[in-house]
């Protein structure tokens, strides 16, 4: 059902955990739906760049793999670039997702955007 890449990110998730003293936090999803993702970021303020990013995820294989992939894609990117990481970008980077997983478990890019928003709101821009 899942591509090899999805299984790899599910079995060996990158950047799992919480950034210490995060500059931004984004949480999406809802335990009743079975998926919750929490993205924490550390931002290099001078460069407006994501210095570090980590995730914690409750959810299915796709939820965990997309979370892991989002952090990989986002790390080192400028904030405006990171905001461009869409669900489709994540799914493509994973070699595709089963159709029913595209929407329900592919929330990690929303979580990242929320974390960036959170950072911006805290930093007044």
């Amino acid at each position: 059902m899942y591509s090899e890449k999805v299984m790899d990110h599910f079995q060996n998730p990158r950047n799992m955990g919480e950034v210490e003293n995060p500059d931004g936090v984004g949480e999406v999803g809802n335990p009743q739906c079975g998926d919750v993702m929490r993205i924490t970021i550390k931002v290099d303020e001078t460069e407006d760049r994501i210095e570090d990013v980590k995730f914690k995820t409750l959810g299915c294989g796709a939820a965990i793999a997309t979370s892991s992939m989002v952090t990989e894609l986002a790390k080192g990117k400028r904030l405006d670039e990171a905001e461009e990481i869409s669900k489709k970008v994540v799914a493509d980077a994973l070699g595709g997702l089963p159709p029913q997983k595209m929407h329900c478990s592919n929330l990690a890019s929303d979580g990242l955007r929320k974390a960036i928003e959170d950072y911006r709101s805290r930093h007044g821009n």
């Binding site: 299984m7 599910f10 335990p31 009743q32 079975g34 929490r38 409750l58 294989g61």
Partner: protein, 402 residues
Amino acid sequence: MQSDIFLDNAATTRTDAAVVKAMFPWLEQNFGSPATLYWLGTQAKEAVEEARQQLAELIGAEAKDIFFTSGATEANNWAIKGVAEALADKGKNIITNGAEHHSILKPLSYLEKKGWEVTYLPVDSGGLVDPDAVAAAIRPDTVLITTVHANHEIGTIQPIAEIGRIARERKVAFHVNAAQTVGHIPVDVDLLGADLLSVSGHKFYGPKGVGALYVRRGTRIMPLFHGGSQEKKRRAGTHNVPGIVGMGEAARIAKREMNDEAAKLTNLRDHVFDWAKENIDDIRINGHRSQRLPNNVNFSLEGIEGESIMLSLSYPTVPEARRVYISTGSACVSGSLEPSHILLALGMPAELAHGSVRITMAKGDTQADLDYALKAIAAVAERLREMSPVYKKTRKQEMHGA
């Protein structure tokens, strides 16, 4: 590499080696159709009739009341639509409950769209239907009561004989979906008071693609398959001879081994529950403590989602690890966005249903296998909980259900 540990026997079972052996001659060598009157056909007919007898003996039925189908889904569809149609002039109410298998609930909602009225009784937190509630629900236009013998998800065994007595007394046809019980615990159509009873071959070490519907003599029912005159014109279609012979052999074996299997698995089941409660934090036992299939274990793990447990167990990262196969009521595997309707029917919150783990054992399983699986589950739970943004360890334990 060590062998896999398959703990999803409620979904399907390994076809017994003896069953495969019994089927084999009926594929290439004796491939005749029982509907034909020449020697090759009469051989096949005798084999089919022997299988009918074997199944009849397992469920205390007369062979002539058994009709072979392609599985329990067909048997359930046939029973429900067939009785509903045959008795449409008598009334259009059918009684069931909210914790039935989809192959019961979906035919019923199909009938609802066509003007039937279905009464869905509640189940208690252990999954039990209350026979008094059944009695109270019967209306003058009630033509059918359908109740599963044992639930496929939580293993709860319903008080079928009591419901059967009520149905008999009130002259309402009674259908029992025995897909999960035939070949595992005693099933006797007379003791259960069943007028119709569904059987699935692949649930008791028989082949996939074969099942049966028991129809008590005198029960009015319309065919689902119209066509040739097979099965006394009640179920058309060339007989699946190897499948039927295989299911017959599975029935014969079950009659011999079933009681020992049940005793052994009941012990193993209780051991699994004890170990899990002792060694895994924040776990809830789902279903009924005693009115339960010997091979069924079901619990929920807080703060984790079931598909990720299942996948982690089935695709272990340690190379020499054994694959462990379990099931879950999580939405992610239900084919819909909802978690198991069975768990929700117990009154369980959705998040716990998402985190449910179902272990259903087979006759060959050993304690060593189960201990291995349990340790793997505990390790996976720990790892996934570390990953979970919502899990907070509390070390609480609860029994959900009676």
